[in-house]
């Protein structure tokens, strides 16, 4: 329901009380701009000078925080994604993003697992999804891999496969198992999921839902009200 429109904000909002000690360079911006204009500069050039002056002042006066660098995640040293195993092998790979080093398939790391022989497509897919949601082991998590809480693996409601389309329905409550709405997490997880599930030759598309509603999953990950359908072609 859209009842909302826009309102012009008055220019006479009550003055915001500011902690001047935190903004020792803010006045410099205003001063630089008006001095440059008084000297005949066009406003754009005056603003450019003001920005440069303020940024320099802020790093000098330590308004800009001292950069904290994370020690590189140990997982960065792990082997990258590998070739899919031979079709007659029971070995498969489950992929996890190493931190947010690169949320694309190329940056995922592969973990070898083996599927029991003789499983149906649905059973194989269910196993892969439970590994994806369960995340890598504690040792590997400590190496910096991003994954939902292990309890997420208990939220698989159903996995259906027909005509190449794989539909994974997750149980409500899955929302609380990961920072799903952060762009770093959602893009990393989706890339890992696609890389993992498309190892199954029988799978051409993957759709995720929560409580039977695909919209509920796609809105959770900020991808929009339409269903998220991954296709083999668009993965890589």
């Amino acid at each position: 329901m859209v009842l909302v429109d826009a309102r012009e904000m008055p220019s006479d909002l009550p003055p915001v009380q500011r902690d001047e000690s935190k903004n020792p360079c803010a006045d410099l911006w205003e001063r630089t701009r008006s001095e440059a204009r008084a000297n005949g500069a066009r406003d754009g050039d005056a603003r450019r000078q003001a920005d440069v002056a303020r940024a320099a002042c802020e790093s000098e006066r330590s308004v800009t925080p001292t950069p904290t660098s994370f020690a590189p995640s140990p997982c960065l040293g792990d082997q990258l994604g590998r070739q899919a195993p031979a079709a007659d092998s029971d070995a498969v790979y489950v992929y996890f993003p190493c931190g947010d080093a690169e949320p694309s398939a190329a940056g995922l790391r592969a973990f070898e697992r083996s599927l029991e022989p003789g499983l149906t497509v649905e059973q194989k897919a269910t196993t892969l999804v439970s590994w994806l949601l369960g995340g890598p082991g504690e040792t590997e998590r400590a190496r910096g891999y991003l994954a939902p809480d292990p309890v997420a693996a208990e939220h698989i409601a159903s996995v259906e496969w027909s005509g190449g389309a794989l539909r994974i329905d997750l149980a409500p409550g899955i929302e609380q198992t990961a920072p799903w709405s952060s762009a770093t997490f959602s893009t990393g997880f989706l890339a890992a999921m696609e890389q993992t599930l498309f190892q199954l030759d029988e799978v051409t598309t993957v759709e995720l839902s929560i409580g039977g509603e695909c919209r509920r999953f796609s809105e959770l990950v900020e991808f929009g009200p339409e269903c998220v359908v991954s296709t083999r072609e668009s993965t890589g």
Partner: protein, 247 residues
Amino acid sequence: MKRRALAQAPGKIVLGILGGLLLALAVQPAIAHQYGSSSSYDDHLGIYDSLYWPGNYGQAYNGYRIFLSPAHHWSGWKHGCSGYTEDLNMVAVAQEAAAGAGYDLAHRGYYVRVGAADPDDNVRRSNSFGTDRHIALHSNGSTNNGPACQGKAGGTRSFYYRSSSGWESPNGKALAEQLRLRVGAGSPGAPDLKSSSRLYELRTTSAPAAYLEAEFHDWAPGETWLIDYETWSWRIGWAVDMHLGYP
């Protein structure tokens, strides 16, 4: 009311809305619903986008319209260290970047609209506003339990649109790169430029768009910096000015 107080007193604001204090709220930024779209909060009754016309701030209009779309998650509020709430803090960031203290977008001559609705509604409004550049404003998380403050990552992440076949929005990428450079240089962690084919506000806006994850709210230095938005929100205006060549 101090904007800082606004960001830290969510209960008060929600009560204000419920209590029908619409007049008082008319000059306050709009707040996203706490419990997700499926809740009764979703009618957004009495919540308005904010428009900032540069003429009201004594500035000449430079010909560009900017739409700021602060975090308003379909699935409800997201939290980080020390009681941080992304959906409240990023509204405050948007207001500060739009018309804060003089070095903001309106004072730079931009006509600014700050969206108050769900992302799909915000995109519709942005598209009908004739937006030249659209910026979604968020903070990031790497671990499930944000309030436990045990994040594994830090730094600004600035996203632009890249299709699955590899097409990139040139202006979206250039805008995201400026946000990475200007906002990222002010944030405590190491900044990075990222792409996505999926994020709704990157793939459905008519205008070139960027999706800013300003810092990680489940990492203590990131969260401390995020709530100190008065010191860094001007960098959004700086990024836009750099990207558009100081019109």
